[in-house]
């Protein structure tokens, strides 16, 4: 387990952290035990809590959560589920695949979901959606508008048709605000030219100078579409597309995104995820690369000044 506070060295965001950051580090260091041998450089041992001791929503206005956007990459096996919580307590869940997202969301103190996003209709991204819809009040649902023929998709679609209390948002170029956090939806490639992965709903999460790019299972066609249109922002955090597959990155895309942190969401699989070439590419551009299969749940707290804290379950 580790906790780090990072930022781009020498960048305005790092400099603007200034005395506030120094004070925060001193406060935490005073209450923490001595560093363990082999600890990650810059890590501050002793500030992590056990998995089931996450603070309730009311406590998120205090301590390191104060003013932070919290992005949690759930450990759900081979699939995606990313929880975004704003400082004001607004909540978005981007994908709900793999194992049992509800159990983990309950443990994280989630009580409602303001925005539920299906990046694309593959089972490893929507397999737990019906359970999520049954477990929590959901205000808005977003997808890429592209149907599938599986029972997983059709079951979800029929539930959404009945649930007229849930408003729908198509993933067109638009901004969804969760209080002070914005979710910018990038325009998708034309439907007729690509398959499901290459029409993954892609979202840039922003809070001040902090940003994170979440792009489902985008492959080279969709990533190229974003690069050619100049849509790829320089971001703090990148969720590796398509579980770290060989076709989930391009050099041009990574150079444009220039992430400080990369998170790969995956579990045990027989597809070769993450691919060695992808792992090396991520390690070459980012200071830190995390994997949910190895690190468990990965949580990033992002601050307006662009600094961040990464906490892992293991």
């Amino acid at each position: 387990m580790r906790a780090e506070r990072g930022g781009r060295p020498g960048s305005p965001s790092r400099a603007s952290a200034g005395w506030g950051l120094l004070l925060w580090i001193l406060c935490v260091a005073c209450s923490a035990p001595a560093a363990e041998p082999g600890a990650t450089p810059g890590a501050i041992p002793g500030v992590d809590r056990p998995r089931d001791a996450d603070p309730p929503a009311a406590a998120r206005s205090a301590g390191e959560h104060a003013g932070a956007v919290e992005i949690t990459f759930l450990d759900i096996g081979q699939g995606d589920a990313v929880l975004v919580r704003s400082p004001e307590g607004r909540t978005a869940l981007i994908d709900a695949g793999g194992g049992d997202p509800v159990e983990q969301l309950d443990a994280l103190g989630v009580e409602r979901i303001d925005l539920l996003v299906a990046t694309h209709p593959h089972a490893d991204h929507i397999g737990g959606m019906e359970e999520v819809l049954a477990a929590y009040p959901v205000r808005f649902y977003m997808d890429n508008g592209q149907p599938h023929t599986t029972a997983t998709y059709l079951g979800l679609a029929r539930v959404l048709r009945r649930r007229t209390d849930i408003a729908y948002l198509e993933a067109v170029e638009r901004v969804v605000s969760l209080g002070s956090v914005t979710l910018e939806v990038l325009p998708l490639p034309p439907a007729e030219t690509v398959d499901h992965n290459d029409r993954s709903v892609t979202i840039v999460v922003r809070l001040g100078s902090f940003s994170a790019l979440l792009s489902g299972d985008s492959e080279t066609k969709e990533l190229g579409h974003f690069v050619r249109r100049g849509l790829v922002p320089d971001v703090t955090v990148l969720k590796a597309a398509h579980h770290g597959s060989r076709n989930g990155f391009t050099r041009a895309f990574l150079e444009a995104a220039a992430p400080e942190v990369v998170v790969i969401s995956l579990g045990s699989n027989s597809y070769g995820h993450p691919h060695g070439e992808a792992s090396r590419a991520y390690a070459s551009v980012a200071a830190e690369v995390y994997r949910t299969d190895r690190d468990g749940r990965v949580t990033v707290l992002g601050y307006k000044d662009g600094s961040y804290v990464v906490r892992t379950e293991r």
Binding site: T149, A151, T152, Y168, E170, R174, V175, L178, Y271
Partner: protein, 94 residues
């Protein structure tokens, strides 16, 4: 939707040479090598997979049900069109 001697499986996605399928009645998933399936498949292909006398799936004898696939695509499109009617449009503040 399927008789006692066959099961309906639908191609969810293809990862390299692995085909990932979703079973209709349980939404269980299975991985099968592309070469082990008797017909050409792509995302969305609806397969009727016979059972052997011992009850195992005989993927090599699977056949594609194009009509059922089309019915499902049309239902999906209808529902997506209905959902679009609930879209307030533009940017949204939550």
């Amino acid at each position: 939707m399927s008789g006692r001697d066959e099961r309906v499986w639908v191609v969810d996605r293809i990862e390299g040479e692995k085909v990932i399928l979703v079973e209709d009645e349980t939404t269980a998933t299975a991985e099968v090598g592309r070469s082990g399936i008797g017909v050409a498949v792509r995302e969305g292909t609806v397969l009727r997979v016979p059972l052997s006398p011992s009850g195992t799936l005989v993927w090599v004898d699977a056949r594609a049900d194009d009509g059922e696939e089309q019915v499902r695509r049309e239902e999906g499109r209808r529902i997506q069109d209905e959902l679009r009617g609930r879209d307030p449009g533009g940017d949204v503040e939550l």
